[in-house]
Amino acid sequence: MAKEKSTTETNKVYRTQLLICAGTGCVSNQSFKVFDTLKDEIKKHKLEDEVQVVATGCQGFCAQGPIMIVQPEGIFYQMLTVDNVPHLVEEHLVKGRPVEKLMYTPSKDEPAIPKLNDIAFFSKQRLVVLRNRGLIDPEVIEEYIARDGYQASAKVLTSMSPEEVIEEIETSGIRGRGGAGFPTGVKWGLARKSPGDIKYIICNADEGDPGAFMDRSIIESDPHAVLEGMTIGAYAIGSSHGYIYIREEYPLAMKRLHIAIKQAREYGLLGDDILGTGFNFDISVHRGAGAFVCGEETSLIASLEGRTPEPQIRPPFPAQSGLWGKPTNINNVETWANIPVIINRGSEWFASIGTESSKGTKVFSVVGNITNTGLVEVPMGITMREIVYDIGGGVPDGKEFKAVQTGGPSGGCIPESQLDLPIDYEKLAEVGSIMGSGGLIVMDNETCMVDVARYFLDFLKSESCGKCTTCREGIASMHDIISGICNGEGKPEDITLLEDLAETIKDASLCALGGTAPNPVLSTLRYFSDEYHAHINDKKCPAGVCRALINYRIDAEKCKGCMLCTKQCPQDAITGNKKEAQNIVAEKCIKCGVCKESCKFEAVLVE
């Protein structure tokens, strides 16, 4: 267990605070070591009474980690290492000269940007759920309370009836952030009206999409927001016990949850007689078993009860008969974290952000072929172009944008032509994708869309629980067909067969896993049918990815005969004399691409 932080320490007066990111991304880049070195250096200069070092949750700009913000000036430092800390402490903290070379520089020709708020990555974001990210130490409850923490709990428990709370949430227009987008207030109302003395609420923190880390980051940077949201939900529904179902693979998030729950219990913010109001509610943490299907409500409940995680027919809905057969309300981490803000600032304020049908903000993890990998929170209705270019900084290495995949493995790919689409639940569905939980994977022009569809089908094939034949066998069949196309064995009738299979899987699968599994194929067929045709009819992979359909060749005019590729080739498939054009022997070549990567003259061509 982590060491306890004393509260007296937090009341001391400092002139400067160093807020260093301790989210998983920065931690894997050694931010804990940087933290320790900072403390040592500050001590060395006898500044420990003036400068406080605080480890915060994820600040979102993961591509530049470890990152640190110096307050009150708001100076943003990035890519810190143990080696550059002594210089930083001496220059900035002792002599008061911010260190330019450790600041964010958009490109080589532009000046460094010292202030956090001036960096486009941050300035276009709107923080509601992540309001405390980078501002509080997630392991100190007082810091959460200092930023209006638990005020919403107090307001609800002392001055609102459960019905009023539900009405407030309904008026705010918030919809489930886990993916399906069901109105949260309506969901609570159903669980409230369900007859029964014992009711449960669950926080779904089983974030299974590859490349998605929204929920993980929310818990790591602001665990009390989730606990407070759940407390409010429990009061509204009439529940006295809640569960957080969290992935075993999230050790840091789990540790911070345990610390937060312990602190909240000690302050009487969880447990019996919360805030002296007579309301009882406590939370247990349940570690998930690591299956993608557990993100589905009924499978999650089965897993929580110790059964095999397989979805069940609805109705009965969990609101009628859920965990242990009792009325149960499940919401995702991000939904819960929104609740205290809605109560504090009012449903009208919340409803003023976003579009007609989708209110508030959405957290996205932006990954793939993008300059600024990271976690962003944006108002609903922002365009995909703003996220990819203004916040994300566009596609790196001078390559072109090709598509962005939203909604995780069962989402869809959105092409360049649809980039100006305002993001909300309905608009994404119109273009054949889904909001999902908020993973965005950006792909450049060297990505083969048929191969992308194959990749996601491969993931879904192994994650299908196997209960429904259409999902189990159907996804496997689609995967076989697509693999055939990638291997140059595609037939023109494959396309129709894929479309037929897709419809059947959608119609006859019980849960959303099967219901959305064909999306990657359908959306790539919709926007990139020319690539399928090139694979099937011309036996070519235009992006140069599918090995069976490509050949490597050396351009004799560009080749300088440096023989770097010849030496690097693991198959000895390249021949030629020094200072003469080299040649690839097709029979020996395994198309690994090492020659192309090593060539400094762009003389290796893929055809």
């Binding site: 400092y14 002139r15 605070q17 903290l93 007082e142 309370i145 005020q151 913010l269």
Partner: protein, 127 residues
């Protein structure tokens, strides 16, 4: 730890306010101590300590204390700049602990410029 009542939440928040003000970068007043090499050797560290002590003693919640480099007038160090929200910044020179205390009480807390220690009103134009 004692169980909280609803009204205790605001008390904790109030106690933490100095810190939150600092992080949000928004205070009623900002005091900058110029801590270049010259400032430090002339005693800027003592000025800083005195200010930290005053803020803690008087439990001041809305003042941001920060540092910056040499202000360029090395012969008149230690120096500090006091900036009350929506007012022009005032630079003070040749400071010691006693002067610092007076400036803090009169100018920072009470809003009255201590003209006898002041060098000038305003700051240089930056690009």
């Amino acid at each position: 730890m004692a169980k909280l009542k609803p009204e205790d939440l605001s008390k904790i928040a109030e106690k933490m306010k100095q810190q939150t003000t600092l992080r949000a970068g928004a205070g009623r007043a900002k005091v900058t101590v110029h801590m270049g090499t010259c400032g430090i050797s002339a005693g800027a560290r003592k000025v800083m300590s005195a200010l930290l002590k005053l803020i803690a003693e008087k439990d001041v919640q809305d003042v941001i204390l920060t540092t910056s480099g040499c202000a360029g007038l090395c012969s008149k160090e230690p120096m500090m700049t006091v900036e009350i929200k929506d007012q022009a910044p005032i630079k003070y020179v040749d400071l010691n602990e006693e002067k610092t205390q007076k400036i803090f009480n009169k100018h920072v807390l009470d809003g009255k410029v201590v003209t006898e220690y002041a060098l000038a009103k305003g700051s240089e134009r930056v690009s």
